[in-house]
């Protein structure tokens, strides 16, 4: 059974307790969002997620989206849910007040995103993509376009998409063929075929605003010749209502492994009118602005599904009785003990739990940087926030989605044979979580971004924003009476990370293939250290709270327990990653292609 109750206590912990000393500060611009206010927002979001979105998750998966006569229908209940969601102001939560948004801090927004993703990943894509599209328009479009489109998009009356992929190109966008022909005024006619367009067509909003990558007639080859265009499904009239159709049609919707309630469309643009967003030839820049925001959000998707899968597994592990505990009967009244007594079931539950809490803690740290990037007044803080985001974006995206998928898989395993049956609802988590490791740049691409771009940039400056706080923390706490041993473990993993960083930077400069061969293991290693750091911090804080006797003993005790589990059972992966990195590319590349 799909069980979900928003982990509000842990969310408040990462929001109010864990990162207060991270140097990103308390931002004046966000002062109006008092703890009471944001807690109230989180509680309301939890209600929407639990009561409105969760019930549609499995039914939406079963029914899927349908295409009839060029019209895409979302599953039953989605339209009503979306209307409620929009009317409740949830679409506009993190958007700029200038365009009708509520300007909520990212720290809070990312937590509400997590809840929505836990409850219904398919649903989350509709408002999610709109938010991404508004980011690009805000950053790069002309004032006229902003005025015409942003208010409707921010309130959620119109939705957005990003149209990158074409049948012959995904990762390598330099190959794309969609054309944009100038019309003499400031508009262009866009023609071409796009595939894999999430929310490309649906019945939730009155208009859909596509951001389309296309090539101008005289453009250079490769990515430098790509420009970004805004192409509405319906051309808006003077009064702002949707007008005539603009030549955008749906050729098909994809039949996918999961995420079935999200319409993934093949779109044809047939001389559709569009307007340039940003400068000619700078389409990738604008698209990356949007993509980077999206990448963090996709990481949160992984966490969201991981959390729902974990909770569903815990529910089952307590319900399902089977066999007896190895340390003696625990449920004498019943025919057997609940399976949560078994160490191997614990292993699975604790692993998922630790990944979720670790991801949430690291995610909150990155969210604080997102807020500082936007609102910090001290340029040094702002710069450090930018560096930190640049470094951590690929880590958040790949690590969280890898962990989320692992957690979903573990949940199926906890259910045993029942997990493999659709009625259990947990196999859906596996299918849904799988896409997050692929879209918005596969996790392999994220790892390459980390070692190829982020690591060497400015002689490793981005790394500083992460390595220094960790190094300082270790130096300050390794003598800690209670957690000294734990922090020693962190120090070891951090040392492995430093050494790997140096090795990759050096080897990779001479031979990019070496960096490529190390990339995925390196990203994992950095991610594990990041989680280890936040867990060690959390344990110290929890201990202090327990010593103060705040009365939330169960939460803090569990926090320390989870942290200890992470250090005992998950951080050792760091050693494996380190050894794999050290061995270099040789065996990876040894076989000739025709030996495969």
């Amino acid at each position: 059974m799909q069980v979900y109750e928003a982990p509000l206590r842990d969310m408040k912990f990462v929001l109010h307790e864990l990162h207060t000393d991270d140097g990103f500060g308390n931002l004046e611009a966000l002062e109006e969002f008092t703890p009471d206010l944001v807690d109230a927002v989180l509680e309301e979001a939890a209600k929407v997620a639990q009561e409105v979105l969760l019930p549609l998750n499995r039914s939406g998966d079963i029914e899927g989206c349908t295409l009839e006569n060029g019209v895409v229908r979302t599953p039953k209940g989605f339209k009503e849910a979306y209307d409620m969601f929009r009317e409740g102001g949830w679409c506009a939560l993190a958007s700029d007040p200038e365009w009708g948004g509520q300007g909520l801090p990212e720290t809070v927004n990312k937590l509400t995103e997590e809840m929505i993703c836990s409850a219904n990943l398919s649903f989350s894509l509709y408002p999610g993509l709109t938010h991404g599209a508004t980011t690009a328009i805000e950053g790069y479009a002309s004032d006229a376009l902003k005025q015409a489109y942003l208010p409707k998009m921010v309130e959620g009356t119109w939705s957005g998409t990003m149209c990158l992929t074409e049948p012959h190109c995904g990762t390598d966008l330099g190959l794309l063929r969609t054309k944009a022909v100038p019309q003499g005024d400031d508009s262009y006619k866009i023609s071409g075929a796009k595939i894999f367009i999430s929310a490309g067509e649906h019945d939730l909003t009155e208009n859909i605003i596509h951001l389309v990558l296309a090539r101008l007639p005289d453009a250079d080859e490769g990515v430098k010749g790509i420009s970004l265009f805004l192409v509405p499904k319906f051309l808006p009239r003077e009064d702002g209502t949707p007008g005539p159709s603009n030549g955008v049609s749906v050729a098909a919707i994809e039949h996918k492994m999961g995420l079935k309630a999200s319409a993934t469309c093949q779109l044809n643009f047939d001389e559709s009118i569009g307007w340039l967003v940003g400068k000619p030839g700078k389409g990738m820049e604008a698209m990356f602005k949007m993509m980077n925001t999206e990448r963090v959000s996709v990481g949160i998707q992984g966490l969201g599904v991981g959390e729902a899968a974990y909770q569903s597994a815990v529910w089952y592990a307590k319900e399902r009785v089977q066999g007896r505990s190895l340390s003696g009967v625990k449920n004498p009244k019943g025919p057997a003990d609940p399976i949560i007594v078994h160490p191997d079931v614990r292993r699975m539950l604790m692993t998922a739990r630790a990944y979720n809490e670790g991801s949430r803690a690291v995610g909150a740290w990155v969210s604080r940087a997102l807020d500082a990037e936007k609102h910090a007044t001290d340029p040094a803080v702002k710069a450090r926030a930018e560096d930190f985001i640049a470094l951590m974006t690929p880590v958040v995206k790949a690590l969280f989605t890898d962990c989320g998928y692992e957690s979903a898989n573990l949940a199926v395993q906890v259910y045993g044979g029942h997990g493999y049956i659709a009625e259990s609802g947990v196999e859906q988590f596996v299918r849904d979580a799988r896409i997050a490791m692929i879209y918005e740049g596969t996790n392999g691409i994220q790892a390459l971004d980390l070692v190829g771009r982020k690591m060497p940039a400015h002689a490793g400056r981005y790394l500083r924003a992460f390595f220094h706080p960790v190094s300082d923390f270790i130096a300050a706490n390794k003598e800690d009476a209670t957690f000294g041993k734990m922090i020693e473990g962190l120090e070891k993993a951090f040392g492995a990370l430093q050494l790997s960083t140096g090795t990759i930077a050096q080897k990779g400069m001479k031979d990019p293939e070496e960096a490529g061969a190390a990339a995925t293991d390196y990203l994992r290693l950095l991610g594990l250290v990041a989680m280890g750091y936040t867990f060690a911090k959390a344990a110290l804080i929890a201990k202090a709270r327990l010593d103060e006797g705040t009365g939330e003993a169960a939460f803090y005790t569990a926090k320390i327990g989870t942290a200890q589990f992470f250090f005992d059972r998950l951080l050792p992966q760091a050693t494996a990653a380190f050894l794999a990195i050290k061995s270099g590319k040789a065996s990876m590349m040894a076989l000739d292609a025709d030996m495969f």
């Binding site: 250079d220 002689a459 490793g460 790394l463 500083r464 960790v470 430093q498 960083t501």
Partner: protein
């Protein structure tokens, strides 16, 4: 007959060239008489020459290597002081390019000069035969052309042209002096218009202009093609014309058109370009005028603008997509075969330039080596025309020229499928017109490590350094990293080298062929280590460097440092640990660590204190030496010549200066060998440092600078840390004896402390990203 040694020189004509030549003679430590005319109604009859010297003392880059050099210039005028020519062994005429004036001057000179005193003209356009018309045979024997390039201190080329009557001994005397004392590479040219470098250079420029106008190539694109990708300075053709002055072009053209024989290919390309005439007419003569093909538009917020060749109007400078891939990285064939206008323009300029250069052997130059040397040293081309032909393939060039119906120069036919240069038995050889290869012969005493490399393998090498056997028991330590930066690998190799040299060789020279001896510690690597908080690794690197340098200092064999160009920070510190230095005259040396928020960490502090303590005439007590070192290091002072490095006590009394870059290795090797007999390593010094009192005094000085706005807040912090080290770090006082090891520890701790300060890191980062210091 003439003396074989030149002890005094006279330069007549105190314009830019004459004055610059006089300065370079003075830089060589040779007295020089600089004469010019007496202007009408002048109260000071020497005003022209005196004014030229005064102006040179303010010019950057400086013509003089030191103030003491300037004092070797004696000024005068040709009306009152011409008889002083009798004191001189060489008279260089550098007056206006007018035959009548030059001839008139020679007539007067003939009356006052000693026989055997060489007279040379710095003309770039007038044939030698015309110059000596009407002079006696004796004068003709002493006469030749010596063509310097501007600026004379920095451009290494000198073309020598001798006439049929020139006495070989006189020419040899001048050549020897130009080579050894003035540091020039002498290229022998024939008495043909433009000699070698300007003849080819002008042809190349004209082709570059013509092709851009004809093909409608924007200026930026033209310079992006006929610039760096061709291995010529990145200014390209248009940028170079802006630099030398657009108004010079019609003069050059007129001079060459009137003197080159009919049938010379130049006549086919020389043409009037209306836009250029218009620009000159309106005062757009290049950088010295209102602007040139490029300009900064101050009315539009210093907007960078470029002229549109079609309309003649300025427009905003555009970013162009120049050559890519191999074509951008020196593969000339890929360049001329690039698609579209890039390949077309590259071929139009390069193909004909190389063909023209090839046609000048033997009419303008004896051999291909002379042509290549002339272009490399006179126009700063990375490779000479014939070296470029080898990159392209002589056969490829010949076939492509033939296919276009153009004449194929004889040397290309002779070469066929063979290269113009080859390596045979470890020697570089060039192809002659007779089809035979001959060794490239360098003058006695000229030695490059590149020559050694042709015939041997390094004794040991790693990623950042190598050790070479340079003969006679001497070993050369070469840095090989980017900018010859110093890192752990260099230190490791030094550690390996010391026992090896001690066991099997006699002496070590620290030298490399590069333009930069060493830019100092590899800051990029250090910054990366800082960024990943690898503190213990960094400290190991600092300690390892100290150990390696002290190892060199106390090694049981002599070590000679032979720097040329920049030797900064750690690159300076290694020199301070050598037994002797033989420096190239162009030495830019100093302890610049404070500029990036650090302090010297590889033993530089102690070595500099020791040098100043032993300097002649230093007052007693620990403070004077420390104050000198503090002043120099805290301001990150860098010498602008070896002479200045001597004033800074980086060079000591016995250390030598070599004027000719190509002779540096040989001179350093000789110096090392001279130290071998009876060599004993130096004894470790013991220091007395001024302690707290001295620290206060240095602090007050810095405070003064700070108050006057000459030192930033963080400068005060950094120099405070430096003052701590130099005065004993608060641990030692006036009465204590401080060992070398203790001082090294102070220095190391201070270095690590700065590296952990975000403000120092910001300085390092800024330096790496912009190449400029951050004044935070």
């Amino acid at each position: 007959m003439s003396d074989t040694i030149i002890k005094k020189v006279c330069v007549i004509g105190a314009g830019t060239m004459g004055a610059g030549i006089a300065a370079q003679v003075a830089n060589a430590g040779v007295p020089v008489l600089l004469l010019d005319i007496v202007p009408k109604d002048a109260t000071n009859r020497n005003v022209v020459a005196e004014g030229a010297v005064a102006k040179m003392l303010k010019t950057e880059p400086a013509p003089f290597m030191s103030k003491s050099a300037a004092r070797l210039v004696e000024t005068g005028n040709i009306e009152d002081h011409l008889e002083k020519v009798a004191e001189c062994d060489w008279v260089i005429e550098a007056v206006i390019e007018r035959l009548d004036i030059k001839q008139g001057l020679y007539a007067k000179l003939e009356a006052v000069k000693r026989e055997g005193t060489a007279v040379s003209s710095n003309t770039s356009t007038i044939p030698l035969a015309n110059l000596v018309e009407g002079r006696s045979d004796a004068f003709k024997r002493d006469f030749l052309i010596t063509h310097f390039f501007n600026p004379p201190r920095y451009m290494r080329l000198m073309e020598i042209v001798t006439g049929a009557d020139t006495d070989a001994a006189v020419a040899a005397k001048v050549e020897q002096f130009a080579d050894v004392s003035l540091g020039k590479t002498v290229v022998k040219a024939k008495d043909t218009p433009g000699f070698i470098a300007n003849r080819i250079g002008t042809y190349w420029i004209q082709l570059g202009l013509n092709a851009a106008f004809d093909m409608g190539i924007p200026v930026e694109l033209a310079d992006a093609i006929a610039g760096k990708p061709m291995g010529v300075p990145k200014t390209g053709v248009f940028g170079l014309v802006d630099l030398v002055g657009i108004d010079l072009m019609p003069h050059l053209q007129a001079s060459l058109t009137s003197t080159l024989p009919a049938g010379d290919l130049y006549h086919g390309i020389a043409r009037d370009i209306p836009l250029i005439n218009k620009m000159i007419g309106e005062g757009y003569t290049g950088r010295k005028g209102k602007g040139g093909f490029y300009r900064l538009n101050k009315e539009m917020g210093r907007r960078k603008e470029t002229i549109d060749l079609a309309t003649g109007e300025y427009r905003e400078t555009i970013k162009v997509a120049g050559p890519r891939g191999a074509a951008a990285r020196g593969d000339l064939k890929a360049l001329v075969e690039s698609q579209g206008e890039i390949g077309a323009y590259a071929w139009a300029v390069l193909g004909d330039t190389l063909a023209y250069a090839a046609s000048l052997v033997p009419s303008a130059a004896d051999d291909v080596v002379a042509v290549d040397d002339a272009m490399k040293l006179g126009y700063n081309w990375k490779a000479g025309p014939f070296e470029m032909i080898d990159k392209l393939g002589a056969k490829y060039l010949a076939e492509r020229l033939a296919a276009e119906g153009k004449a194929v120069p004889e040397i290309l036919t002779v070469a066929g499928e063979r290269p113009l240069y080859r390596i045979e038995n470890g020697k570089r050889q060039f192809l002659g017109l007779d089809g035979a290869y001959r060794d490239v012969v360098r003058p006695e005493g000229v030695m490059r490590l590149a020559d050694v490399k042709l015939s041997s393998k390094p004794i040991i090498r790693n990623a950042s350094a190598a050790l070479w056997d340079i003969g006679d028991g001497v070993v050369c330590l070469e840095f090989t990293g980017k900018m010859n930066a110093l890192d752990g690998e260099v230190m490791k190799l030094i550690g390996q080298a010391i026992p090896l040299v001690a066991a099997q060789y006699k002496a070590l020279v620290v030298y490399n062929d590069a333009d930069t001896f060493s830019a100092g510690a590899n800051l990029g690597l250090a910054l990366f280590a800082v960024n990943i908080a690898a503190w213990s690794e960094i400290e190991k690197l600092v300690a390892g460097g100290q150990l390696a340098y002290k190892g060199l200092k106390y090694a049981p064999f002599p070590v000679v440092g032979a720097p040329a160009g920049m030797a900064l920070g750690g690159g300076c510190e290694i020199l301070l640990h050598c037994d002797a230095i033989q420096a190239h005259a162009e030495l830019y040396c100093g302890l610049v660590e404070c500029g990036v928020g650090l302090v010297p960490g590889w033993g530089g502090n102690g070595e500099m204190i020791e040098r100043w303590r032993n300097a002649p005439g230093m007052p007693k007590g620990p403070m004077p030496a420390v104050a000198k070192v503090f002043e120099m290091v805290s301001t990150a002072q860098v010498s602008k010549s070896a002479q200045q490095a001597r004033e800074m006590m980086i060079l000591r009394g016995d250390d030598g200066i070599t004027m000719n870059r190509d002779r540096l290795l040989h001179d350093a090797k000789q110096k090392a060998l001279s130290l071998v007999e009876g060599y004993t390593p130096p004894e470790a010094p013991e220091f007395r440092l001024p302690g707290a009192g001295g620290r206060t005094a240095l602090g007050l000085a810095v405070e003064g600078f700070h108050k006057r706005g000459m030192a930033t807040d963080y400068d005060v912090v950094v120099s405070g840390v430096l003052a701590d080290v130099l005065t004993g770090g608060g641990e030692f006082d006036l009465v204590d004896t401080v060992s070398e090891g203790e001082l090294l520890k102070l220095e190391r701790d201070a270095f690590m402390g700065r590296l952990r300060d975000a403000r120092s890191v910001a300085r390092v980062e800024h330096m790496l990203e912009t190449g400029k210091p951050l004044r935070n």
